[in-house]
Amino acid sequence: MNLHCASSARSRRDFLWNLGGGLGGIALAQLLGRESLGDEAFLPRPEFNGGLHHPAKVKRIIQLFMNGGASPMDTFDYKPELARLHGQMLGPKEKPEGQTGAVGAVMKSPFEFQQHGQSGRWVSSVFPHQAKCVDEMAFLMAMTTKTNVHGPGSYMMNTGFILPGFPCMGAWISYALGSLSDNLPAFIVLPDARGLPYNQKGNFGPGFLPARHQGTLINAASSQPVPNLFADARHLFATGDADRDSLVLLQKLNRADATAHPGESNLEARIASCELAAKMQLSAPEAFDLSRETDATRTGYGLGNKVTEDFGRRCLLARRLIERGTRVVQVWSGPQGAANNWDNHGNIQTELPLIAASVDQPIAALLADLKARGLMDDTLVVWTTEFGRTPFAQGSLGRDHNGGTFVTWLAGAGIKAGVAHGRSDDLGFQTAEGKTFCYDLHATILHLLGIDHTRLTFRNAGIDRRLTDVHGKVVSEILG
């Protein structure tokens, strides 16, 4: 027997239910999310453009996560000093905790860097397409983390804690703001077709938040991307007309039961959830149907090209989903493991260009597409990874884990385009100035959504938990 609802929230929710259909602009799904909140029930406020505490500039987010630790000094963080010091043993004498191999000599980037755009950002040759977009991006050039082990690092960048069990940013946003539409889940995760990242589903879990805030895992390549949207076709008794008529009878039965037990909001909520399920059945297939896009769009995202196909499909899907009301879409590049991701221990020169090429054109296409459709007015795109890599060689050609400094960029609504905040040291080993943690990134993202990160809390085991723990400062330098 279980019952979980905090005191005053329940009566409040009952009150809302008793309003009947007149819910004026609030998505039904969002209302379902209102239970178990205390006095400060979070309701997006129209006067704040849907924000909670101040006006929101962003309503939807696409987060691109480069799994494995994308190398900064081979992508966005140009370090000419590395060429000068190439081959010298300047690293720590002892293997730092979390690195997998011995610390080798300083290693220059094998890639050519050039300045791009009005802003003159240096970008290496592995990102020719993103290089053309630098004037739309704001860079955090001195991101840092508390660990250089994948699991804890990925937890930290997603949940703000290095341990499992905490809600990820997407779950917090779903909890704070709910869905923009009844037709789709509020938070969707699109993992690499080759497998899940480190921590498996832990990176997109709801932690102690109610289960409905978890990331809905979508297999973009599957014929049935939303799990259980329909019964398997072989069950004729549960598909097509049978499904429709069964649902009608179910709702009739449930309404009769609710009438017999007046005042029970959880029975009403179940009825509403079945209605929403039916709505989702109607609209989700359309949202996931990429054949509705023009050939030009599909080609632009890199569909039809083996290298870019998978990530491109998921970027395009991400755009379709946020367009239709999903709040947060997280797109992963690379599964866990020794290959096909950003964890280039063995050979930067051969491993990085492959994975970089798989995301580069799709990302540029996504930014252009969002802009062309006017979606950039309230959409934020975030590119990040769990940590950086050492300026010192691992073996002779690879790079090891380095939590010291790495790069994140943001683009879209509320962002001061073309700026960079922070600087790593001359080797790109540690931060030099303008250091930012995941806390600051998360605080900034919440700020753009109209949320004060210190006031978005959930009590668990005696602590009012926050996405930003007891830290976080909005990085105003990159805000427009």
Partner: protein, 967 residues
């Protein structure tokens, strides 16, 4: 100035400062700051409180608020000056004179005499008060008396008793997690026996289904799962034994204090019992990657998890909140926290082996003890087993007769010259190869053989007189192999050996290495060169030597550096294997002396040899040990067997930072629970855990008794009397009925910790038996039913729902115990974590219909169906399950393969229960709802079934609120 004067001045200054603070500063802080920064307002914005000295000294998220003496650097001053746009407090700027006062206070060194008061306040808290049994406020059932007293205060009446069907359904799900059999529902509804209900309670508590249900609650509380659940999420094939232990503990009604002691330190308290209870220590996640690459940080966080789990589960305390600073709200110091870490400083997670059969366990203990005694020549113990030694000597009889192998072929693989000597030995000379393999073939005179013997002989022609040809006279025999060529056979038959012995073994180069199949290991005799040695290889089975059989022996000597044999002889015997053995010369010497003339030392030499041999034989014969995933000072995981000879040193860490270690922590628990002793004077690892178990299980530990009494109540009513069951601190809930909670806790203590007695008490109360229907009048006064004027209505949880569907479809398999059932297809993943596919599982496969408690819970890759029904994330302690409603949950219930397949099974079941659709629908309603359909329902369902089959009707029933909710 005399010291007396100095003291007096100090006192005067202090009292003056205190006066200044009390008169000027305290009222100012109270008026201007307490609203957002005090315990009395319940607000600690930014984590800062200003109602105690420690409040501002420790400060909040931005660090200390006041640096005594340093006006410019004190955050509080910066804030009230409104000079910094990011730091302006309070919103409305203070008048200049108040700012000046506070500046002066800081300048004077911020005197603040309040410190101690606040700490005392922290201990004055309901959960920490000594547990005494309050008087029952009335007559009748004690539970009802307490509930009625509160209801009367608000003038609310208790609800009438629930209907018979609702009652039996409630009780079955509550105590067993399953729906009642329809026949029992009918019998219960018809029964006139006033004792029918209490009898039912007893019957359900006595059933093994009870343990399966209530074990699930405990596993939630302690975040148990079958896998690691971290970066690499790897299966723990032996975790299930702890799950079975919990089930059986509930079924046996293990007294709660004993349950605590078993889980923390069975090895100390009950050394003769299996250690499965220690699975508690291994319940949480394990990060094998960080354990390898970042051990310091990992071990720290892993201990933190164990401290958090232990204190939350047993005493509902958030001790982990004191990791970085003294607990902000509860009387837990950082020293307390690190004392708890020190309790677990000597263990690591992994498999620990044990004997399931106690007889075997006793035998293993005996032989291991003897083996250890033999290895250390512990005279007294060895001589106490003299009969075994005498028996060995008697069995041995006279000397063993060895017949030489008549070698007709002997070959060197690498060009050494082998020549046969008059004594039937073979000498190796000529070119000296680096490595060598000698093959010798010949016949024997014996009709059957039990062992082969290899003599390696000293010879003047060899370096250092041999017996090896290495420069130092040593040799390395990598492997000894033999085969039999019988007349007429086309293939040789390989002979198998059971044991090898030698008169002398070089350290780390023992004779067993010549039989281990590993070409990198070998037997050697250094430093005893220049003398002959011998080794005996006992055959697994006595082998008949038919006339004309050829015996082929291969001596592999592959170490290199010419560690090859210089001169050797092979021979054979038919004496029993036990007798034909190579004895060390020391033993030979003892045996040569008549037994009644041996000295004590000589007897010990012999006994050590004989008993070591015997112990090794006996141990090899014992069955393979079982394992349980737990934690121990020696536990086996992916990194091998990790052994900690003594506990790690634990230091108090400034702000919880590993790089800022301070004083060494002493093992212990919380200081605030008087009269319990807060620090443990034990050094050894297991003793620390035992001491904590004793502290937790102490009759005078009020937290423990309240904690478990509240949990039991919670699982009966859907909400605890205190609704934060793992947090009884200041940030947790306040009990709705504190006296009732204390009475139940005291009752539990008095009955010896029997949960079953507590269940019986609660389930027979009128409060528990009342209906769940709404009552607008009562609801207006107490909308959340905190006073229990009705029973709480609840949805079935994930496990109940799954089991109920199986029970209703007729497929439930009640097999108990054993390894878990995986509800997914597993395939290799990119790294250690496999890839799991829950969507392709065959719900008709063996074990698929067993109860949910026997399901493999993969911590990081949750079953999507169970997850959407709020099965908790096992990365977290889950004292309360969530209860969510979402469209994705509705879709899962409608379309998940499990529900669809069970709908078909349910349809097949009711098909047989009627001859027309109407009858079948009636049967379905009886099985799912325990009632008849009304005419409208019957018509609707018949229509649906006729159009789309009975399965469609069954699917609707499984999805209906009447099935999903308990009245």
């Amino acid at each position: 100035m005399s010291s007396r004067w100095l003291l007096l001045m100090l006192v005067l200054t202090r009292s003056a400062s205190a006066e200044f603070f009390n008169e000027k500063i305290a009222p100012l802080l109270e008026a201007r700051c307490y609203k957002c920064h005090s315990h009395q307002s319940g607000k600690m914005k930014g984590g800062l409180t200003l109602d105690s000295r420690s409040g501002w000294a420790e400060g909040g998220e931005s660090g200390p608020a006041v640096l005594p003496g340093n006006v410019e650097k004190s955050l509080l001053i910066r804030a009230i000056r409104h000079g910094d746009p990011d730091l302006k407090m309070p919103k409305e700027k203070l008048p200049p004179e108040e700012v000046a006062l506070l500046e002066e206070w800081v300048r004077r060194g911020a005197p603040d005499p309040r410190g101690a008061v606040a700490v005392e306040k922290k201990t004055d808290w309901w959960s920490l008060k000594p547990l005494t049994r309050p008087p029952v406020p009335g007559s009748g059932h004690p539970v009802d008396a307490f509930i009625a007293a509160k209801l009367q205060e608000k003038n609310i009446a208790r609800s009438p008793e629930a209907g018979r069907n609702a009652l039996i359904r409630r009780l079955y799900f509550d105590l067993q997690g399953l729906p009642p059999p329809p026949a029992e529902v009918e019998a219960f509804a018809r029964s006139n026996d006033p004792e029918a209900y209490p009898k039912l309670v007893d019957q359900l508590l006595a059933s093994p289904r009870y343990g399966e249900r209530w074990a699930r609650h405990w596993l939630d509380v302690i975040h148990f799962a079958d896998t690691h659940g971290f970066e690499h999420d790897v299966f723990r094939p032996n975790a299930w034994r702890y799950r079975d232990y919990v089930i059986s503990s509930f079924n046996r009604d293990t007294p709660w204090p004993r349950f605590i002691r078993e889980q923390l330190a069975t090895d100390t308290f009950f050394p003769d019992e299996s250690p499965v209870a220690l699975g508690f220590l291994g319940a949480g996640p394990y990060d094998m990657s960080a354990a390898g690459t970042a051990p310091k940080a990992f071990e720290y966080m892993d201990r933190d998890d164990l401290v958090t789990q232990t204190m939350a589960a047993f005493v509902s305390t958030t001790a982990n909140c004191a990791r970085c600073h003294a607990h902000k709200f509860d009387p837990i110091t950082q020293e307390d926290y690190f004392a708890l870490q020190a309790v677990f400083a000597g263990i690591g997670k992994g498999d620990i082996p044990f004997d399931e059969d106690p007889v075997v366990a006793t035998a293993r203990k005996r032989w291991n003890t003897l083996l250890a005694a033999a290895n250390t020549a512990a005279s007294a113990l060895l001589l106490s087993e003299q009969p075994l030694v005498t028996q060995w000597e008697t069995d041995r009889g006279g000397a063993v007769v060895w017949e030489p192998l008549e070698a007709d072929v002997f070959l060197s693989s690498n060009g050494a010259v082998l020549t046969r000597q008059p004594d039937a030995s073979i000498l190796s000379n000529g070119p000296r190869p680096e490595i060598e393999t000698c093959t010798i073939s010949g016949t024997g005179k014996l009709p059957e053989i039990t062992a082969l013997r290899l003599d390696v002989l000293a010879d003047d022609s060899l370096p250092m007189k041999g017996p090896g040809r290495a420069d130092n006279g040593n040799l390395h025999l990598s492997e000894f192999e033999a085969a039999l060529f019988e007349p007429g056979a086309t293939e040789p038959r390989k002979l198998k050996f059971s044991r090898a012995s030698a008169d002398f073994d070089q350290t780390d180069w023992g004779i067993a290495r010549a039989l281990d199949g590993d070409l990198k290991t070998a037997w050697g005799i250094h430093p005893r060169v220049g003398e002959s040695h011998h080794a005996v290889f006992e055959l697994e089975q006595k082998t008949v030597l038919k006339l004309g059989s050829k015996l082929v022996v291969v001596l592999k000597q592959l170490h290199g550096a010419s560690h090859i044999i210089g001169r050797f002889r092979l021979s054979m015997t038919s004496s029993p294997g036990n007798v034909a053995t190579a004895l060390p010369s020391t033993v030979e010497q003892v045996l040569a002396i008549p037994s009644n003339q041996r000295t004590l030392e000589q007897q010990t030499v012999l006994a050590a040899f004989v008993l070591k041999r015997r112990a090794e034989e006996e141990l090899a014969r014992l069955p393979v040990r079982a394992k349980v995933y737990a934690a121990s000072s020696a536990a086996e995981n992916e990194r091998g067997v990790i052994t900690l000879l003594e506990p790690r040193v634990i230091r108090v860490l400034t702000r919880g930072d590993l790089d800022k270690p301070e004083a060494e922590a002493t093992p212990g628990a919380l200081s605030a629970i008087t009269p319990l002793k807060a620090r443990f004077e034990v050094k050894n690892e297991a003793g620390r855990r035992a001491a904590l178990a004793d502290w937790l299980a102490d009759p005078q530990n009020p937290l423990m008794w309240r904690s478990i009494a509240n949990r039991v109540w919670q699982f009966h009513f859907g909400r605890g009397l205190c609704d934060t069951p793992s947090d009884f601190g200041h940030m947790g809930g306040i009990p709705s009925h504190p006296e009732l909670l204390d009475w139940l806790a005291a009752e539990l203590r008095e009955n010896g910790g029997s949960l079953k007695a507590l269940h019986r008490l609660i389930c027979t109360s009128a409060a528990y038996r009342q209906a769940s229907a709404e009552n607008p009048g009562a609801s207006a006064i107490d909308p959340d039913n905190r006073l229990l004027w009705k029973m709480n209505r609840s949805r079935l949880d994930a496990d109940e729902l799954r089991d109920a569907v199986l029970s209703t479809s007729g497929r439930l398999d009640l097999t108990t115990g054993g390894p878990g059932i995986s509800h997914f297809k597993s395939s290799p993943g990119p790294q250690a974590t496999p890839s799991l596919d829950y969507s392709v599982f065959d719900w008709d496969s063996p074990g698929a219909s067993r109860r949910s408690i026997y399901r493999v819970v993969w911590r990081g890759i949750a079953d999507p169906f169970m997850e959407t029904l709020d099965f908790p994330d096992a990365a977290l302690l889950a004292p309360v399950r969530g209860f969510s409603v979402s469209p994705l949950q509705a879709l899962a219930l409608l379309n998940n393969e499990f529900v669809l397949r069970q709908s078909e099974h349910f349809a097949a079941r009711i098909e047989k229960l009627g001859s027309c659709t109407g009858d079948r629908i009636r049967a379905a309603f009886r099985l799912a709802y325990f009632r008849e359909p009304d005419p409208g329902e019957l018509a609707d369902f018949t229509k649906l079934a006729d159009q789309y089959t009975l399965s469609a009707a069954c699917r609707v029933l499984f999805n209906s609120n009447e099935f999903l909710f308990l009245n």
